[in-house]
Amino acid sequence: MSASDHRPAAVLHGREAFPHRHLTGIDGLQPHEIMFLLDEAENWAEANRSHAKSDHRLDGLTQINAFFENSTRTLLSFEIAGKRLGADVVNMHAAQSSVKKGETLIDTAMTLNAMRADVIVIRHGSSGAVQLIADKVNCPVLNAGDGWHEHPTQALLDALTIRRRRGSIAGQRVVICGDLMHSRVARSNILALTALAAEVRVVAPTTLMPPAVEQMGVTPFTDFDAALDGADVVMMLRLQNERMSGAFIPSTREYHLRYGLTPERLALAKPDALVMHPGPMNRGVEIVSSVADDPERSAITEQVAMGVAVRMACLDVLTRGARGVEGWA
């Protein structure tokens, strides 16, 4: 058993296992706290496979999903997670355009607070916005993505998927490829995977590579083929439409030539290397369908399933104090 698979969480009780009020990021979490959340999520992953998927521990609690940025998958995942736990889930779609500026963000936070939400899930287009709201409200806040900063539940579901499919996280060579500069998924994954002692390689054209990223404990590559050598996990990032033509890369076909995950390229990784993608995919750009749909190699649908389990775990753990769960008050 490697260092990071050691779980002091087992000997920590109640709040000691996860002493945080909010989940605003992976930054600030101890490795054993990340493992604790993964263990909790593992239980829900098993429960979700049964027919009776519903639980009632969040009965009577109000969960508000305040999404200041468009989302389909993450919003749906948080909604299903809340409903499976019995929460009353309300979705607030605040179009980025109308609620972006001025006092409105703080005003919105105060409004949600006044409505006595029991847990708030927030996505916002600006880095740091979720922390800003978390500082103003009396209930737990879950970050569902803030700007380019963090998307902690995505990193947790990715870590859980890796652990289930590869047996452990420590020592795994994980290659993250794509638009790292503008990716909150990449930042949270780098933080989580390095905390859990994976070897992380990041691949991008220099125009999309965050400066000084090696300071986060990863090895940067511009050559995807070189990075894939010996990889256990290949995690592809979505290339956003607005970055596809000219400003950062010349074209999607040129991007595909250098960074598209094809079967030939995947052959450079370990024979049983796992393929991951946070979705939604640009098929034919960063990944080709034959790789994405290969049940032996691709964990993409499992990632979606783990997303629900991880979010159930986070909602459960963060509301334990308010629900008076023994040891968490």
Binding site: G102, E103, L105, S127, G128, L132, W148, R184, A212
Partner: protein, 401 residues
């Protein structure tokens, strides 16, 4: 007007050094002897009042508390200072207790395209022209601005930041910006702009003042330009001497500045450049911003800090750190900015206007955003203990504080 004599003063003059003695004021100017009222300063500092070059707001209460008798007002006002009538009105804004010296827009509307009416602006009271909060992107326009300003006898004050590189950046590239997920620009954005503006000024024989230079490489360019006789000066504000990009780590928008905070080695280089004379001006960049502009996610907030009240205490900190002498501090705060604006003030020589501060250089206090006199308390130094309080402020022989 009757006279005043300050006795028992520690007189700090950028031209006359640092000495114990007596200073007299008669008819609003520093005189050989005065008679009239005598004020015993009991060993406190008596120095020229601060001339704050490049502020963004006329915030009298903050300037009075900060020991600032004159300000060079940036053209980024609403409306922009690019018309004689508007400039005249700006020049009168501070009366009677503050001299406002308008700095006119170098291009019409600060749009960076057409040369502004500089001679008319000078007639209306403008003491310099400036590019405003941003640089002039078109090098052809900048070259003409420098040439035409030289014809008019005006100095050009520029913001040295390459707009193409700076773009939407709110931080300097580096580990901190990467971890925070903030749009960032390389420090090179400043260096390129300094290089271009210095070379254009050199070619045109124009006078150029770079309002803020904050990087090692940018300061080195200024140092070398001065050595070969280019008529270039530069300034800096205290945050770039005290803070680094690490200070933005909790997304505190009071640390969102323009240019953004730099890395530690740039900060050290700035302190060295202050000590070796490369930097000519220490200014506040006073830019009060209320919650509607600052209580926002970091990248959505507007840059700037309310620096007027903390300028002197933070400057005295540099003396305490033995980086500069006391008389050099007042050269940076008063004499040099006065010279750049063409004002006959900033030193304690007989015949100069009696713009004076009396300072208790040791008085301890804590910077508190809630307790500021400024119209907004956006200081990146909130909570910092400092020393040095303004006890008296005199303008033209009249006591304001």
């Amino acid at each position: 007007m009757s006279g005043t004599t300050f006795t028992n003063a520690r007189i700090v003059c950028p031209d006359g050094g640092d000495r114990a003695g007596t200073l007299s004021v008669r008819d609003g100017v520093i005189a050989a002897d005065a008679g009239g009222e005598t004020i015993d300063l009991k060993g406190k500092l008596l120095a020229p009042a601060i001339v704050d070059l490049g502020v963004f707001a006329v915030d009298k209460a903050a300037f009075a508390r900060g020991g600032i008798a004159r300000v060079g007002l940036m053209p980024d006002q609403s409306p922009v200072l690019d018309d004689p009538g508007i400039i005249q009105r700006a020049a009168a804004m501070g009366k009677p207790d503050l001299w406002v010296h308008p700095i006119a827009a170098a291009t019409r509307g600060l749009a960076g395209a057409d040369i502004a009416e500089m001679a008319l602006a000078a007639d209306a009271g403008a003491k310099a022209v400036a590019t405003g909060r941003e640089w002039i992107a078109d090098s052809g326009v900048m070259r003409k601005v420098l040439a035409y300003a030289a014809d008019c006898g005006m100095i050009v004050i520029s913001h040295a930041e390459d707009g193409g590189l700076a773009a939407d950046a709110v931080a300097t590239e580096g580990e901190t910006a990467t971890r925070l997920g903030l749009p960032a620009a390389p420090a090179l954005a400043e260096v390129l702009a300094v290089a271009r503006d210095v070379m254009l000024a050199e070619e045109m024989g124009a006078r150029l003042h770079l309002r803020q230079v904050t990087t090692a490489a940018g300061l080195d360019l200024v140092r070398r330009a001065k050595a070969r006789g280019v008529r270039v000066t530069c300034g800096i504000t205290p945050p770039h001497l005290y803070l680094t990009d690490i200070d933005i780590s909790d997304y505190r928008t009071f640390t969102r500045l323009s240019p953004p905070l730099r890395c530690e080695s740039d900060r050290q280089a700035a302190r060295e450049a202050l000590a070796d004379g490369t930097i000519d001006v220490l200014c506040s960049g006073h830019d009060p911003r209320g919650p509607e502009e600052k209580r926002l996610p970091f990248a959505d907030s507007l840059p700037g800090s309310a620096g007027a009240e903390t300028l002197l205490a933070l400057g005295l900190g540099l003396v305490r750190d033995e980086l500069i002498s006391l008389d050099r501090l007042f050269a940076l705060l008063a004499r040099n900015p006065a010279r750049i604006l063409g004002l006959e003030t900033g030193a304690l020589t007989p015949g100069s206007p009696a713009d004076l501060v009396v300072v208790d250089a040791d008085a301890p206090w804590k910077i508190d955003a809630e307790q500021m006199a400024a119209s907004a308390g956006n200081t990146p130094f909130d909570g910092l203990p400092v020393q040095g309080r303004v006890l008296q402020l005199w303008k033209g022989g009249a006591r304001l504080r």
